[in-house]
């Protein structure tokens, strides 16, 4: 399988030597017989920005959940060589997860929803206030701290969900199509904000998306997946330097990468249809 070859290939990015997390031959079959992932191998280096790109139903969300330690694998292993004391419990503590749905508590205000991760660690409301407002500020929602989720639009809910993931300053940020529900301008703005934060705080990001353009703009590496069964079929390094700003969107190198990525995605879709 070519997935194995890709996995053992040297890391093409600027990431440090040992990968932060490494998947080896991971498969996931649901009880109804759906093979969501088959023999997936993937290394994520520290400070990388990796996008998982693929058609709907190819197992992107499943892969993300497995990396977060939510739900078991059917076979294969996940290791955290990059985490010094290699207890998954410890590393999990530093994961931020943005689910595909906003996943907010409807009975809690925006403030309380964002406070939740800190609250679970025993941080009081007043002590958390500054951090919560700062996180809300990052997504442009300070004004809505006292609103309830039902009073927000779909995109605003998603931004609350992002603020909640950011508040713990996670080392590894897992994002499942976080901007899919947003208009293009907001989306571009948040793309830029996310890149700035990523550079500033030195996070590692695994980002799931449907969008070729978004994945090229953001990522240092794109992992292309195909469905039925879900598997990795291609990897592309995006070697354009950071910081990337708006002019990158119009550059020829960007367009070149978009074309390449698009071709890879088409190949992936065809690969799926044959089965």
């Amino acid at each position: 399988m070519n997935t194995a070859a890709i996995a053992t290939a040297p890391d093409p990015t600027t990431a440090s030597h040992a990968p932060l997390v490494s998947l080896r031959g991971v498969s996931k079959t649901f009880s109804n017989g759906t093979v969501a992932l088959q023999n997936m191998s993937l290394d994520i280096g520290e400070r990388e920005f990796v996008s998982l790109l693929g058609p709907s139903g190819c197992g992107k969300s499943t892969a993300l959940r497995i990396i977060a330690g939510l739900g078991d694998t059917t076979s294969g292993t996940i290791t955290w060589p990059g985490v010094r004391d290699d207890t998954t419990a410890k590393s999990r503590h530093e994961i931020g997860f943005v689910f595909q749905e906003p996943t907010l508590m409807p009975w809690a205000t925006v403030f309380n929803n964002v406070w939740l991760p800190l609250r679970l660690r025993g941080v009081s409301r007043s002590a958390a206030r500054g951090d919560v407002m700062e996180a809300l500020g990052m997504v442009g929602l300070e004004k809505f701290a006292d609103s309830y989720p039902r009073e927000l639009s779909g995109g605003m809910k998603m931004r609350v969900s992002i603020a909640r993931a950011l508040i713990t300053r996670p080392k590894l940020l897992l994002m499942d199509e976080p901007f899919a529900a947003l208009d293009e301008i907001t989306r571009f703005k948040l793309n830029n904000d996310l890149l700035h934060l990523w550079e500033k705080f030195g996070w590692t990001v695994i980002f799931v998306t449907h969008s070729v353009f978004e994945s090229v703009y953001l990522s240092s590496r794109i992992v292309v997946m195909a469905s039925r069964p879900g598997r990795v079929i291609d990897e592309l390094a995006i070697d354009a330097p950071y910081p990337r700003e708006e002019e990158f969107r119009t550059s020829s190198i960007y367009n070149e990468y978009c074309r390449k990525t698009s071709d890879a995605l088409h190949a992936a879709m065809e690969g799926s249809e044959h089965r």
Partner: protein, 295 residues
């Protein structure tokens, strides 16, 4: 202005317009409509009630119905006034039993639901007995309970409790179980303790279900308190409303029977209104069943 700013701005405008509503001197037609709507909502049931009472009174007068068959509303009112001390103390007895049973059912039902949510095994062991208690008619168990308990009051309390307990238990269990899967994952990710997951996630999620159970249980507790007292019969030292009902029937004091009946209905309505109000107050901020829909 970026989209984000535009949205903020929009939010501000929405807020100020909400504040404006209260100070608006000239209400818009839609609001005027809703004001009359509110009046009508109050007026129509009242008019209906008055109309029914008038029809009843006229019917009794025109056909000259004897009061031991159907007393006129005026006669019932007289009986209520005359027998007030007796009926009031009877009402008090029934009401205390009902409320005590309800409170014990709430505490017990929620506690058991939480216990069962902790482990599948506990649920498997206990749930069947809860169901058996529920499906066996309480009138059928009442004689046994009367034998086993020291006082009639205690027996009636147990009857009411058995009946009120199950809706609370089953609704709360359902609510605890239907917690959003992703939110549970989120709590797991942040390594929330079992206790934190229960307090911050599962219990708030179960609240609407619990409140629906509460409304059912409130009505059922009153019914069971009356049924229990009927089962105890005149032999018991019961002095609740059901006892007064039976007594009035034996003595053919039909106006008083009607009086007791009206008090019972009113109590039931009151319990329903109170539980509905509690439910509304707790849910109005966020739950679909209670929020005012604007689109």
């Amino acid at each position: 202005m970026t989209a984000v700013e535009a949205e903020k701005h929009e939010g501000e405008m929405a807020r100020t317009s909400v504040q404006d509503l209260s100070t608006d001197e000239a209400p818009r037609p839609a609001e005027a409509g809703s004001a009359t709507g509110r009046w009508l909502r109050f007026l129509i049931p009242v008019l209906m009630l008055v109309g029914l009472i008038v029809v009843w009174q006229v019917y009794v007068m025109v056909y000259d119905v004897p009061h031991y068959i159907l007393p006129s509303p005026v006669r019932v009112a007289q009986a209520l006034a005359a027998d007030w001390p007796v009926l009031l103390s009877a009402l008090w007895v029934t009401l205390t039993i009902t409320l005590k049973a309800l409170v014990i059912a709430l505490v017990g039902g929620v506690a058991l639901a939480i216990l069962m949510a902790q482990s599948k095994w506990i649920e498997l062991a206990l749930y069947p007995y809860a169901v058996i208690l529920q499906v066996t008619p309480v009138v059928a168990i009442a004689p046994l309970i009367l034998i086993y308990t020291p006082t009639t009051q205690a027996a009636i309390l147990i009857c009411a409790w058995i009946v009120a307990f199950f809706p609370v238990l089953s609704n709360t269990t359902q609510g605890l179980r239907s917690t959003d899967h992703n939110l549970l994952n989120l709590f797991e990710l942040y390594r929330a303790s079992r206790w934190q997951t229960l307090i911050f996630l599962q219990l708030p999620n179960a609240l609407p279900y619990f409140l629906a159970g509460l409304r059912i249980a409130g009505g059922l507790a009153l019914i069971a308190a009356v049924v229990g007292e009927f089962a105890a019969g005149t032999a018991g030292a019961g002095s609740g409303l059901a006892f007064r009902l039976l007594e009035s029937q034996y003595r053919l004091n039909i106006p008083r029977l009607f009086g007791a009946l009206i008090l019972l209905s009113l109590t039931g309505v009151l319990i329903f209104a109170a539980t509905s109000l509690v439910s509304h107050l707790l849910l109005r901020k966020w739950h679909e069943s209670a929020v005012r829909r604007e689109n």
